[in-house]
Amino acid sequence: MPDAPGLELILAEINRENPGAVLDTSYDREQAALIIDPAKLIEVLTWLRDTPGQEYTFLSSVHGADYFPKAPRFAVHYELLNRERYERLRIKAIVANPEDPEELPVVPSVVELFPTADFQEREVYDFFGIVFEGHPDLRRILMPEDYVGWPQRRDFPVGGEPVIFTRDEVTNPGWWQ
């Protein structure tokens, strides 16, 4: 893992080429993370992947996070890995929830850079409603295709989904309506 000073160096180098790309760093419980502006996501990941000395060429995992009730609310985490030095680095693209409830938060897709992100971005879209701009096939992956709602959001209730049993007809006639 890059330690706290190492992270500051990475921040300075990225921000020299893309000012304002890295907003902050965090080093907590031996886990290093860069907090970045989602608009510069592709530039930051390309730099980390291709710059000699960095070479985070393997994308382990992509997952969404919901910091509700904090704002900005959502984040997409990219767990990068350097296989030679066995160093892990987490990139957190922080994205706010649009004020219009009809709109969804948007993050650029990294499938071009890391083909492994394909299913994982679909999963984040499925559960958090974060749209990945440029994804070749952005559909729901685990939930049914006609499902309405974003189940992993923190304000989505557990048990909000009615469970349909035929025995409910006795106590609750017309349960299917």
């Binding site: 907590d28 419980r29 382990s60 995992s61 997952h63 919901d66 987490r90 559960f127 189940p151």
Partner: protein, 434 residues
């Protein structure tokens, strides 16, 4: 051309003039069609016709509820799309409603063949979050059970894969030996599957008397067993033809697709988190990482079989050098006090009550904890928000990621080999869908 015997139906057709003895070629057929329908030229080029076949969701060879939409040209796969989610149960969401220590049984049930690994990924992440040291004996006991679990998982894989290729006997032998592994789990943890053995801070219980003897007997039996599978399959002409040079994807492409585990090692990359990450007791143990050369189905089979032997080596070393000491951390804020203390110590009683009713609170933070499961890198991401329940639990399931490589492995090959390639991928749908 005389026929041996005509059915009644054939005779009727011949009398009506619609059945002919000579062979009809495609050209004849299209010419006749064009004759019958004036003004339309019929063309039929069979090699350009695409057929979309739906494999699954209920198909015995998909090893679960997996649906594959396959585009075929003749017998050659031209495109393949996996459709998943049929057994999605929302485990990650359910974890957010449970206290940290009550999440363990949930995560065990994701990938139902590698429950000890799921537990270790989750429990390790929580231990990092609360900065809890696991006693040495507990670390060794965890590795012992994880390696037994790896053998159990590979045995189920080998049995079902051989069954897909028509070797039915191997299936029964594998499940015989798998049952023996489950017997040891039953002895040490009380359950055959989904044991809930790992606790935050250690393991639930020390191993019972006689367990070591039982595992030593198991090692002998398994060594014989693995030799038996090798002699059944290694020189089996059908097995060799079906697996050699089938489903090859280059190592670079596999890395781009995020594939880890035996699939990557079969392609010649000695990537094993037990060596690289060095978690638990693995740095103290001696074992080798088997790699393949070509990356075909046969290499995947060889790598997994050799891995079982290496796991036996690790288990033997653990039985020889198991350190004495406590098996769960002494920190009463996170680990339950021993039962005997409850009747003598008021403080223990309070701790017990607090842990069971409210659980423990975790300072805000995020941890990603990867382990090497039988299918590759199994990572658990846990986000804490200061309460006694996790704000997010996410699993990086190796089956889920590896499934993306299936299209690359099968496009351009025969549909019959698709079964073999899918079996060699070793997908567990409980893990994919979560």
């Amino acid at each position: 051309m005389a026929r041996m015997e005509d059915t009644l139906h054939d005779r009727e057709l011949r009398q009506a003039g619609t059945l002919r003895d000579e062979e009809i070629t495609v050209a004849d057929f299209t010419a006749e069609l064009s004759d019958r329908v004036p003004g339309v030229e019929f063309e039929l080029e069979p090699e350009q016709e695409m057929l979309t076949v739906n494999m699954g969701p209920h198909h015995p060879a998909t090893h679960g509820v997996l649906r594959l939409v396959v585009d075929l040209e003749g017998e050659v796969v031209k495109d393949l799309k996996p459709v998943i989610g049929y057994v999605h149960t929302g485990i990650e969401k359910s974890c957010e409603t449970m206290q940290y220590w009550k999440v363990i049984p949930f995560v065990e049930r994701m990938d139902y063949l590698s429950y000890f690994f799921n537990m270790q990924a989750y429990v390790g992440a929580v231990e990092t979050l609360v900065d809890l040291e696991v006693p040495r004996r507990a670390q060794w006991l965890r590795v012992l059970h994880m390696e037994l679990n790896r053998i159990h998982s590979h045995l189920v894989w080998l049995g079902t894969t051989a069954l897909d290729l028509g070797a039915m006997g191997v299936y029964f032998y594998c499940f015989r030996d798998r049952d023996r592994v489950l017997d040891t789990f039953e002895m040490s943890t009380g359950q055959r599957m989904h044991t809930r053995y790992f606790q935050i801070g250690g393991v639930a219980e020390d191993i019972p008397a006689g367990f070591e003897q039982k595992v030593r007997e198991l090692i002998v039996q398994l060594n014989t067993g693995i030799s038996q599978y090798e002699s059944l399959l290694d020189k089996n002409e059908i097995f060799l033809i079906r697996t050699k040079d089938v489903g090859v994807v280059s190592r670079e492409r596999l890395l781009q697709l995020g594939v880890t585990g035996p699939l990557l090692r079969a392609a010649g990359d000695p990537w094993d988190l037990r060596k690289e990450g060095g978690y638990l007791a693995y740095p103290e143990l001696e074992f080798d990482v088997p790699v393949g050369t070509v990356g075909d189905g046969y290499d995947r089979y060889r790598v997994r079989l050799t891995e079982m032997r290496e796991s036996l080596r690790i288990i033997e070393q653990i039985l020889d050098g198991l350190p004495e000491g406590p098996w769960i951390a002494d920190d009463r804020k996170y680990a339950l006090p021993p039962r005997a203390e409850l009747s003598t110590s008021m403080e223990s009683l309070i701790h017990h009550f607090k842990l069971v009713t409210e659980g423990f609170r975790v300072e805000p933070g995020e941890v990603y904890n990867p382990v090497e499961s039988p299918r590759g890198e199994l990572g658990c991401f846990v986000m804490a928000d200061g309460s006694s329940k996790p704000a997010r639990v996410h699993f990086r399931e190796p089956s889920f990621i590896n499934l993306q490589a299936l299209a690359d492995m099968t496009i351009g090959e025969y549909v019959a080999d698709l079964i073999q390639t899918l079996a060699m991928l070793d997908p567990i749908l409980g893990g994919i869908d979560r």
